[in-house]
């Protein structure tokens, strides 16, 4: 697995490098001292795993994630940040406290190995979402509905509905077309979350998603959805 280490302190990076020497399947392909360098490194190298310090000069680790189109697996490394704890409200990605205990690193890497699907150039798997003080790394499979709001898109997952600064159209291009279906101009649904389908009075379909809401499907797309679900 290819890893990038982003931390503004050289000693912190070399300490992590030393700790990772015990895990020969992880190779560090790049190091970064700040958000700009990390972003450039991620564009340059095929990175599967990102070790990310949260407080860095010129921008935080979260600022970096918000900028990324394709997000690798992330392990936050932090000296002490209440933000780090808050960041993990929903998702299960890992964080390590500096100084890093070798056993904690080993456990985090075990979880990463289970989750890793290789550096696929396939559809979007995870997306970083920040709204106010809270943030999530959301598995795209857990998103049941995407709703367009101008330049923003509202994501429905769990009990949360945060907005992200990406257009529905831009997101659609990155989504797995086998799972995600354009219900209308302003909505994309995840077919794996469909709980029921009703017919509207004018012949269009109304899809009920597990955990809500109900989503009306445009007439043109209703025909396609019938085929898709072989109704």
């Amino acid at each position: 697995m290819n890893a990038l280490v982003a931390d503004d302190e050289r000693l912190a990076r070399s300490e992590l490098r030393r700790l990772l020497a015990a895990h020969p399947d992880i190779s560090i392909v790049a190091e970064a001292r700040n958000v700009e360098e990390a972003e450039a490194g991620l564009k340059r190298e095929p990175v599967d795993l990102l070790f990310l310090d949260i407080q860095m000069p010129g921008g935080s680790g979260f600022d970096l994630l918000e900028r990324l189109d394709r997000m690798p697996l992330v392990i936050f490394t932090t000296a002490f940040d209440q933000y780090a704890i808050r960041a993990f409200e929903v998702n299960a990605l890992d964080y390590l406290m500096k100084p890093v205990a070798p056993e904690r690193l080993a456990a985090a890497l075990d979880r990463v190995r289970q989750r890793a699907g290789g550096a696929s150039r396939g559809p979007l798997e995870r997306v970083f979402v920040r709204e106010g003080e809270r943030c999530w790394i959301v598995n795209v499979a857990d998103i049941r509905l995407l709703e367009s709001e101008g330049n923003y898109t509202r994501l429905y997952f769990g009990v949360h509905r945060p907005l992200i600064l990406r257009s529905l159209q831009a997101l659609e291009a990155r989504l797995d077309s086998a799972a995600f279906f354009r219900a209308s101009r302003s909505r994309i649904i995840n077919l794996r979350w469909v709980a029921g389908v009703d017919t509207d009075v004018d012949g269009g379909l109304i899809v009920t998603l597990r955990d809500g809401p109900k989503v009306p499907v445009s007439r043109r797309q209703s025909r396609r959805l019938r085929d898709e679900l072989s109704l």
């Binding site: 503004d8 302190e9 050289r10 000693l11 912190a12 070399s14 300490e15 030393r18 001292r33 700040n34 700009e36 407080q55 860095m56 000069p57 010129g58 000296a79 002490f80 940040d81 406290m97 500096k98 100084p99 890093v100």
Partner: protein, 262 residues
């Protein structure tokens, strides 16, 4: 006044009674005045004690600032392999700094020389973390080292300069500490690369507490300002009488006042 006191007045010649009464009233008047002054002194000393404690707690918070402390420990862990001698020095410096901050019972003011030793410990730790991203310049007039400053106050200014200034700059910056004596006053400056934020972090708790301490210790004869010298430099400027202030602690007050607050 008790009845028996009035009875004494009754046996005195008539001409003496008004004089006695006036004398009595004057005695009471000056007594009350003296007590008031004494109380004002006590209140000031108590306020000072509270603010000083608060300052020490804040300094503790910032050195025991978990972010600083754990990053230091992480550097030490790396240095143990890379440069064991440097790791040893770092542990000693960290111990000195923590001792200086934890020592709550010592005098309210210390000599600038003593304070600068703690500043030096702190900066040597930051230098390990920041490496080439931190350049330090210290220019202290020899006579200024004997001047008295409120304990941990200069340290707080330097920590602020690091935390709000240099730590935010990807390519780092410079820190300059200078001190001179002029007209019996100490003039100390902590200048750092960076800019004042629009929401003015500088007016936040750290400096607010420092100003309150200065007011209680020196009244109007001390000042602390935070300004942008130019677009890239922020300067904290401190001026105060070079001599140690009197009555800086409850225990330094006249015995009566100390008793009253005991």
């Amino acid at each position: 006044m008790r009845i028996s006191d009035l009875a004494v007045l009754a046996v005195l010649p008539a001409w003496l009674r008004p004089a006695m009464a006036i004398g009595g009233w004057l005695a009471i008047y000056f007594g009350v005045l003296a007590r008031r002054r004494q109380r004002a002194l006590e209140i000031n000393a108590l306020q000072l004690e509270v603010v000083a404690h608060d300052a020490r707690l804040r300094s503790l918070e910032s050195q025991l600032n978990p972010h600083f402390l754990f990053n230091c420990l992480n550097s030490v862990r790396a240095l143990i392999v890379e440069d064991p001698a440097r790791a040893q020095t770092m542990v000693t410096r960290l111990a000195e700094l923590l001792r200086y901050s934890l020592n709550m019972d010592r005098a309210e003011t210390v000599t600038l020389d003593e304070e600068l030793q703690a500043v030096n410990d702190y900066l040597s730790l930051e230098r390990v973390r920041f490496e080439e991203r931190l350049s330090i310049d210290v220019a202290i007039e020899p006579s200024a080292r004997a001047a008295y400053v409120p304990r941990v106050l200069v340290l707080t200014l330097v920590e602020n300069a690091m935390k709000h200034g240099i730590a935010h700059l990807p390519s780092g910056g410079a820190l300059r500490i200078s001190a001179t004596i002029a007209g019996g006053e100490l003039h100390l400056e902590v200048a750092n690369s960076g800019s004042l934020p629009h929401d003015a972090v500088g007016t936040g708790v750290g400096l607010g507490n420092a100003r309150e301490r200065l007011r209680l210790l020196y009244g109007a004869s001390a000042s602390l300002t935070l300004t942008a010298r130019d677009r890239r430099t922020v300067v904290a400027a401190l001026s105060l009488p070079a001599k140690a202030p009197t009555a800086s602690r409850v225990s330094d007050l006249p015995p009566a006042a100390a008793e009253a607050t005991a």
